[in-house]
């Protein structure tokens, strides 16, 4: 995993930006969107009014200093809550700004007529359907599809990956992104998006929070929080009547402090920051989520469809064994296989030579100057070499070679045929080697399962996520690799329709399915899947169909995406729990203080032995305010997810954030009281 330089959480420039934004957000018209904090704002205004009344001569509400302190603390609570959201946004914006740099105006060579002549235009003027040319060294001005040519392209501007990639017309690697650079060759590209609506533009808007909408879960949580707020509005508005009956008048400051401390300000202040940070975390993993909902859904995924190649196995197969035909010396086979592969630049070919070396084969001793190489084609499904002495060596798929041998009127040895089947059953890919028409034997190529992938699947299983391997291999090979890698199921000889059918079947059982894809023929499945991650290298259709795009084109990214989703939901849950659990201590701090003057007996309830009623109330409000910035790092980074099963996870989080949420304020308020007590 390559990660871009991670900005420190409280980078000075971000903090400055966030503080400014936090103040702007105090506008009640904007606070209204967050009901919990909006009520705090009302409380702040009331305290301001009380302060003014005291200055005007009112004596029933206590000292000006005390009331003003409460006012300032409430104001700070608001600013802290806004700061959390602004900081998350600022981080997103910083990320977006670095992306936007690539969107600066780029000259485009727009094709004017059939003859291919072109004119220079600004990238801003490009329209959908325009065609432009890019040559070595050009920046690609807009998103599009290559309709002619092949080129190596440096996509480091968006992916951070310095190795160039190859893009060519036709197929699944035809899409190019604006802002990337052509390193070699010439391509003709058709513009697929309108200016300002390109993929990157949309992303930037998203991460900047401009088009951020509350997700369904956020809405439901907001209802819960609003409900809690209402409960405490009831509790606090009825108190003055009770107090009046008990002849212990309650000051406005005490009442508002009780209210603000009891309502879930901690989670209320951090909620939107958590959501933004979730998308931001995805972005840091180089995954762009098209919506916050997509990230949330990722946490719920039950089934993961993973392509075998690149995800489960290292892209290339490796030669692992030579099996000589009857009557052929092992050394003869190795020599033939190695010579036949020496000019073969494919990873498989190289691995054959590599394996042969281990059997004392010395490539330097072979003179191939006069030899003619025969490339692999889809038609012959074999490759090899014609040596100057007239010997023809071929290696290839079993049926292709069998065909050659039988056409030449020879018998294909039964033993080799059996061997070949055995290799396939073992998850390997067999190649048969012939010298002229003589069958020398077979080579076993094996898929190399990525190190550590088994553990990752184990982790997924503990999360309750089922993994499904999708492969073009035959069922025998597929089963073998599936078992080796530890996936739960596989789709062999998979066609795009099979993926689609599998997704539908899983969804029919009520499961949520995630998949990754790149090709145009993946688009329907990507759209059907609940979480579809398209590779950035993929076609425009695929990217349009999915709800996330992976800039790294890394197939294992799905696993990370699921964890990010879970983290997001968990962070919400744990901070809600913490926030609500805090109430216990706050009750015990404030309620005795409320009535301390009128009912001295209630001092028994002051179990923290806070020094004075004013100090108790101030301490609770201070704790309530500073807990928000203290939890900002947790909100932005997310609670770490551990795949230990739901019950164990609940137990752990309940212990840490529930019990911790009960205990922490007792300790915190007492400590603050010790300090505040000095000043009062």
């Amino acid at each position: 995993m390559k990660h871009k330089k991670s900005t420190p959480l409280f980078a000075p420039e971000l903090v400055r930006e966030a503080v400014r934004e936090a103040l702007i957000k105090l506008d009640p018209r904007r606070m209204w969107r967050n009901p919990v904090m909006f009520t705090v704002e009302i409380g702040t205004f009331v305290m301001l009014a009380v302060c003014i009344l005291i200055l005007a001569g009112d004596t029933t509400q206590g000292s000006f200093g005390y009331n003003f302190s409460i006012f300032v603390l409430l104001f700070l609570t608001l600013v802290f809550a806004n700061f959390a959201e602004s900081l998350a946004e600022a981080r997103g914006k910083a990320q977006a700004a670095s992306l936007r740099k690539t969107r600066e105006e780029t000259p485009a060579k727009v094709i004017m007529d059939e003859m291919g002549s072109y004119a220079l235009r600004s990238s801003n003027e490009l329209k959908k359907g325009d065609r432009f040319v890019c040559e070595t060294g050009d920046l690609i001005p807009a998103d599009g599809e290559i309709i002619e040519g092949i080129a190596t392209i440096d996509e480091s501007a968006i992916t951070g990956e310095s190795a160039p990639v190859i893009r060519e017309a036709g197929g699944d690697k035809s899409s190019v992104t604006g802002g990337t650079k052509v390193l070699s060759d010439r391509i003709v590209v058709e513009v697929t998006t309108l200016p300002g609506e390109s993929f990157l533009d949309k992303m930037i808007a998203l991460v900047e929070g401009a088009s951020r909408q509350k997700t369904p879960n956020e809405i439901a949580l907001n209802i819960l929080l609003a409900g809690f707020t209402l409960v405490f509005i009831i509790v606090c508005t009825t108190l003055p009547a009770f107090a009046q009956y008990a002849s212990t008048p309650v000051t406005i400051a005490a009442l508002i402090s009780l209210f603000v401390c009891l309502i879930p300000t901690t989670i209320g202040g951090l909620l939107s920051a958590i959501g933004i940070a979730g998308m931001d975390r995805a972005l840091r993993a180089n995954v762009i989520a098209k919506s916050g909902k997509a990230v949330e859904t990722a946490g719920d995924v039950d089934t993961l469809l993973l392509d075998k190649t690149g995800t489960i196995t290292i892209g290339n197969r490796k030669a692992t064994h030579f099996y000589a035909a009857p009557g052929v010396e092992q050394a003869e086979l190795i020599r033939a296989a190695a010579i036949g592969s020496m000019a073969d630049e494919t990873p498989e070919g190289k691995s054959i030579v590599e394996l042969a070396r281990q059997f004392q084969f010395n490539p330097a001793a072979i003179n191939l100057e006069e030899a003619r190489f025969v490339k692999f084609t889809a038609e012959t499904r074999s490759s090899g070499v014609d040596l100057s002495n007239g010997v023809r060596i071929r290696k290839g798929a079993f049926d292709a070679i069998k065909n050659i041998v039988e056409k030449a009127g020879c018998q294909f040895p039964e033993e080799v045929a059996v061997e070949v089947k055995g290799i396939a059953a073992n998850g390997g890919t067999p190649l048969v080697v012939i010298e002229n028409e003589r069958v020398m034997g077979s080579i076993e190529l094996q898929d190399i399962i990525k190190p550590g992938i088994r553990e990752r699947f184990e982790r997924l299983r503990k999360m309750g996520v089922k993994t499904v391997m999708v492969t073009g291999d035959n069922p025998l090979t597929a089963r073998f690799i599936a078992e080796q890698a530890g996936v739960d199921d596989f789709i062999a000889e998979a066609k795009p329709e099979d993926k689609m059918a599998y997704i539908r079947a899983e969804q029919g059982q009520g499961k949520l399915v995630a998949m990754m894809g790149d090709g145009t023929n993946d688009a329907p499945a990507l759209a059907q899947a609940d979480v579809g991650v398209a590779m950035n290298s993929g076609t425009a259709a695929a990217k349009e169909a999915g709800n996330m795009v992976d800039l790294d084109n890394d197939p294992t990214k799905l696993i990370e995406v699921v964890e990010i989703g879970k983290q997001l939901l968990m962070t919400r849950g744990t901070l809600t729990t913490f926030s609500i659990a805090n109430d216990v201590a706050k009750y015990f701090a404030i309620v005795p203080a409320l009535f301390a003057a009128g009912i001295p007996a209630l001092d028994t309830l002051n179990i923290m032995r806070l020094s004075s009623p004013e100090s108790a109330i101030l301490s609770a409000v201070i704790f309530n305010a500073i807990i928000i910035p203290l939890l900002v790092p947790l909100a932005l980074r997310g609670v770490s997810y551990r795949p230990i099963g739901a019950s164990a996870l609940l137990r752990r989080n309940l212990l840490v954030y529930g019990l911790g949420g009960v205990v922490a304020p007792f300790v915190g308020i007492k400590m603050i009281d010790l300090v505040v007590g000095i000043f009062l």
């Binding site: 439901a220 409900g227 009956y245 039950d302 949520l512 809600t576 659990a581 019950s647 609940l650």
Partner: protein, 567 residues
């Protein structure tokens, strides 16, 4: 003293143990299991359905269930009004008691139909035998049946994979009455008669001469049958004015234990019924465990406080070997009275065998806390519905904490369900605190209307007002007494509270369950939050403590807690 504690524990264990098989039986009733029971009751029910033109096979969605529930309740209300307003000339009135005044009839009808049984009349002089049987006892059956049927709808909804149709309301309702309430009440009534509770129709008051030589008129009537359903259906309305403290309504320790057993029986059994019905025993044990934990903590505190007696009396140098005996019946003693008071407040029953006003402050506070939570077993059917709301809230928080959008038994809990759950959870503190605040305000202002409300000043007076609204909102029906509540303010305010706090907490959970039942079913995986674990139980308990208990903390502080700490 130790024998009292021991007998309380033994009583609790026996009650819980007997409720378990009853739970299995109740689950069978709602699953439509045939067998002997079906052969006995089936034909009777068939006749009733044929007479009323109801097809018990016609399935209803959750809206239709609620419509049926509310309609039938409305009709019963009109019937009860008619009887109470005309009991003077209707038959079976050997004592010649007059018809009720309209406002009293209204109050009585409402409070019996909502399973609360606030009684502003005295049975001996205020009701005829006909009214006792055909208005009051009838409502005690059908209001309990309504609660059970609503619970059964939620049971069915929880069992469905994806469904809109959730059985027939009338079918659930009638079976609740014929197969659950009727047999239990019948057997219990026989025991009560055997121990001396009257059951007669023809004769009116009897005349006896007391030891002091005074001549006393003693009311009789169909008491045993009335008392049986009053307890089994968590109704609580007594045949006599003094309820189960009356020597003919609750003559011995044995009738006392039997009645206390009946108070807890169906509420406990209903939880086990859920387990059998869903085939999720562990879930039932989780719910039972949470309820029991809360119940025992409250019971323990109350018993301790009562057996300890009043510290003020200690200071006078008087021994209180039997605990605090003020306002209690000698034949029951402090321990069993404490047990009863907590059983009756936990289950929204409301019958009393001692004066709650006279309990020690802490015990009084515990009785209120019981009703504020209102789901530690709770009323028949509805106790579970209240608990269901807490499960929904805990599911939401817990679900997030395991990294999934929350789901309960394979159904996503989303914004709509949260909205309903939150509203229902809010209603109880809203009604109690707002009502008490208004009453406290009038009292503090010295409003003439409030002049005769309180028998006690200070914290205890506050407790009296708080208790009254809590009892009304919990549909409990018991009074702290000592409060002058038979006047316009209390009749109207508690009457409104009664209606709201009965029907909204039924409508809410049925709607949530119905909405959830309609949703796509998501199979369980290792990542799914399991609602049947002890951890989840702890979470539910915490939610109950924080929402139901702590929101009343300031109010309780000014009442029982302040009184307790001042003693």
């Amino acid at each position: 003293m130790n024998t009292e504690i021991l007998s309380i524990l033994l009583f609790f264990v026996v009650t819980a143990a007997l409720s378990y098989p009853l739970g299995r039986y109740i689950a069978g009733v709602y699953s439509g299991r045939g067998g002997l029971v079906d052969r006995i009751f089936g034909p009777i029910e068939q006749v009733m359905f044929r007479l009323s033109g109801i097809d018990p096979k016609r399935e209803m969605n959750w809206q239709e269930h609620l419509k049926a529930l509310l309609t039938i309740n409305m009709i019963w209300f009109l019937w009860a009004m008619f009887v109470l307003l005309n009991q003077g000339w209707l038959p079976w009135n050997p004592d010649g008691n007059p018809s009720m005044t309209p406002d009293l009839a209204f109050n009585t009808a409402i409070s019996f139909i909502v399973n609360c049984n606030l009684q502003h009349y005295s049975g001996e002089t205020g009701a005829s035998y006909f009214s006792q049987i055909f208005a009051l006892m009838f409502l005690q059956f059908v209001s309990a049946g309504t609660g059970l049927a609503a619970g059964a709808v939620v049971f069915n909804a929880m069992r469905q994979r994806t469904a809109v149709q959730l059985g027939n309301f009338y079918d659930y309702f009638l079976k609740s009455c014929t197969r659950i309430l009727l047999p239990i009440s019948f057997v219990a009534a026989l025991f009560l008669i055997a121990d001396g509770v009257p059951m007669n129709l023809a004769e009116g008051k009897d005349t006896i001469v007391t030891l002091q030589g005074d001549t006393v008129q003693v009311s009789r009537g169909p008491v045993a049958g009335f008392v049986a359903i009053k307890q089994a259906g968590t109704n609580g309305g007594g045949y006599y004015g003094t309820n189960s403290a009356h020597p003919l309504e609750n003559p011995t320790v044995w009738t006392n234990l039997l009645e206390n057993f009946l108070i807890l029986l169906i509420p406990m059994a209903f939880v086990f019924a859920l387990g059998f019905y869903l085939k999720k025993q562990r879930l039932a044990w989780m719910i039972f465990g949470v309820m029991t934990a809360g119940f025992l903590i409250i019971l323990g505190t109350t018993v301790w406080s009562e057996l300890r007696g009043n510290p003020a009396i200690d200071q006078l140098g008087l021994a209180q070997t039997s605990g605090s005996m003020e306002g209690k019946e000698l034949r029951f003693g402090a321990g069993l009275s404490a047990l009863w008071s907590i059983s009756t407040t936990a289950t929204s029953n409301g019958s009393v065998n001692a004066m709650h006003d006279s309990f020690t402050p802490l015990a009084g506070g515990m009785q209120m806390l019981d009703m504020m939570i209102n789901s530690l077993y709770g009323g028949v059917g509805v106790g579970f519905l209240n608990f269901y709301v807490f499960i929904i809230l805990a599911t939401f928080i817990g679900g997030l904490m395991v990294g999934r959008t929350p789901e309960l038994l394979g159904k996503k809990v989303e914004a709509r369900e949260m909205k309903i759950a939150m509203l229902v959870a809010l209603l109880h503190p809203f009604l109690i605190l707002l009502g008490t605040a208004i009453a406290a305000f009038y009292t503090a202002q010295g409003h003439p209307m409030a002049a005769n409300w309180l028998n006690n000043p200070g914290f205890h007076g506050f407790s009296e007002m708080l208790y009254e609204f809590t009892s009304a909102s919990a549909n409990n029906g018991s009074g702290f007494e000592g409060l002058g509540d038979n006047n316009t303010f209390w009749n109207i305010s508690t009457g409104l509270v009664l209606i709201l706090s009965r029907y909204l907490p039924i409508i809410g959970p049925v709607a949530i369950a119905g909405l959830l039942a309609e949703k796509k079913y998501i199979p369980e995986s290792a990542g799914t939050l399991r609602p049947d674990s002890a951890t989840f139980g702890t979470l539910v308990f915490a939610v109950i403590v924080i929402i139901a208990a702590l929101s009343f903390f300031p109010a309780l502080t000014l009442g029982p807690i302040a009184e307790f700490l001042s003693l």
